[in-house]
Symmetry: none
Subunit: 206 residues, 4 copies
DNA sequence: ACGTAACCGAGACGGTACGTCGGGTCTTGAC
DNA sequence: GTCAAGACCCGACGTACCGTCTCGGTTACGT
């Protein structure tokens, strides 16, 4: 349930209220003061908690942020996530990507997500936890949607689903994280179309 | 030539030797101690320079790193970069991406590039400078290679080149920055193939 | 026991070892490098203490110096000081003043005492603490010696003891602090004689 | 005319206007911001002068302050100072001391004089210059007044004039610099009386 | 039911780095 | 060659946090 890596004290005696207060405080501060000014000291103060309680249970600031996201994502739903499946893959992908960029353009989520993304970029162990617990389930849902499309002949049979997923979401993630271009619905639609069709000329129509 | 943003002192009186020493020290330290332990104090000490000289000319640690990259990229060549063009687009892309992941797997470049990438992620103004001065020329070279392929009928005539470029390099960049998967030649080859062909089934053989 | 003036943290949690190390380091450095080169940073380093520990408990460099003197003066004796009383006031005063100028001519004490004196000169609050805790007891001892002489008829009955004390020690202190003349035993003897006799001609002998 | 100690550039080419501007700025700043916040940089800025111009002609901040005083004292009068001589020594001393404490209680003079006094306390060379050029003439005037009183039998014939002067002004100076007591006219009157009469009982009436 | 051992809040501590101020030196261009 | 201007190297300032370390107090087991 957490990102802890090494030996920690008896989890049975852990105070759940403090844990939640810390994660909530961390996420809230991330929104309010931004990543650069986020400090353990600040989190402890906001959570009404001693600093040691944070150091006792988390090895780094990044893991606290990670767990904060974990708490949120699991609080939202106990079940694994799924992508909409109306039978029309292109339409479904367009809808999902549009929703994604709306979130990315919302400063309420933008700041914390950037914080998590850059912590991951600098911490391999955290990245592993991210891949397993946060990104993994979501990516599986994406693959599953593509698999479903494969079954009805909308995607090539021999398609590499991992690469396919990265080809759809990668450009969007990159634009967001590196700010290399505007994130609009028009843009994500183009990404979907181009990914589905490929770069090469198509022999027949469509 | 630099990432400065607001009013700065008279650049005519600036000492060029100090500027170069600072940027070199910054890049070297980035490789040696890593981003997390990179400090203005450390850069100044290594460069044999007063801290004030750094604060006088750069508004943030990120802009120093950025300028360090700028100095390197401009020191390497005065002309804009170009991608190889053998006439075989797929082969050329495979070669370029393979070279890219080799660099990404080299800790000598990995650390500093991550530092730049995450600084950009947190600083919109720096991102704008990055897009204009570092990423821009490179991206133009990529577009140009695709344009060349378009001319010889290897790519669709109505292809959106920006999206196309992002679809090829985006997945690789993401895997690298977020560590969501291994960066191998085999992987980049698959990316090239999948991007060129698209996700949908192709009517006839390839 | 200290020169603190405004609200400070819980003194119960204060580490006595650090307090002593700081005051000792301050006094030692005062002797070694002199007042002009005395820095909080230097004191902290010498004491093996974080700077914040000094800033936490003392509002200024002057109060640190003051407390260093306080520690020394209280370490020397728990009881209030007394002046020698052989029954011969003139002789006693001569002896005391001679001892005083010996100390003033000893660089071991000269430097730190000058530091304290000039800090006091620029800081009224510190001066008040000085008057109450360091100078006060000593001055009372001086007054007491004069009172004793008064009782045996060696001093005028209506003598203003405060002024009398200042008239004996003031000239010496001034010569020392302002370096307006040499500090010799011969000089202090003259001061004692002149003060006792006054400036006016004496009607009868002596 | 100045407190310079070591070799300096050709004084013939010196710009008098800058010299005066610096000394005036120094004195004014001393009054306005106080000794602790007085900086060479501040003086240069206020005087509209380059820092180098100060460093070229004065070896230390103290000597600047000293010269500022020198300029003022010589601007006031070209002739050596004299003390009033009405024939009544006690009355004259009372008047002079009263005027002195009025000045000492005036913050307009208090701050700069403290600055000078403490600079002198820490700089023997400066002290020598002070004794020779500022304190010397004044002390001679004081001695002269006492000599005059001696001539008319108001003071002992064998009186040590140096000690006598210090016994009258020393207590006042000390009270001022160390803030060991209030500086009132009543106090200075007592000092005069006690100094003239001495501490010992007088055989007959006064 | 009652120690006693752990967690907990609080926060002092030794440190590192921050961003700023000013010291004293050096360079530039105007006079 | 002096001067105004100001960049430069350097050292110290006072502050913010780091991660570690006590210090009571309050749980919550294990006997």
């Amino acid at each position: 349930m957490t990102a802890q890596r090494s030996a920690t004290p008896d989890p049975a005696r852990r105070r759940e209220a403090s844990r939640r207060a810390i994660l909530t405080a961390a996420f809230d501060l991330l929104q309010e003061v931004g990543y650069a000014k986020l400090s353990i000291e600040g989190i402890a103060a906001r959570a009404g908690v001693g600093k040691q309680t944070i150091y006792r249970w988390w090895p780094s600031k990044g893991t606290v942020i990670f767990d904060a996201f974990l708490m949120l994502s699991e609080g939202a739903a106990g079940e694994p996530p799924t992508l909409p499946d109306t039978g029309d893959l292109a339409a479904d992908l367009r809808a999902v990507l549009r929703a994604t960029v709306v979130e990315m353009n919302d400063p309420r989520y933008d700041q914390p997500m950037r914080a998590l993304a850059t912590e991951i970029a600098h911490d391999p162990e955290l990245a592993a936890a991210y891949v397993e617990r946060l990104d993994g389930p979501l990516k599986e849902a994406k693959r599953e949607r593509l698999r479903s499309a494969q079954r009805v002949g909308q995607l090539a049979e021999d398609l590499d689903l991992d690469v396919a997923v990265e080809m759809i979401w990668g450009p969007v993630l990159n634009r967001w994280l590196q700010r290399t271009g505007p994130l609009t619905a028009e843009y994500t639609d183009r990404v979907v179309t181009t990914a589905l069709d490929g770069l090469r000329p198509r022999p027949s129509g469509r």
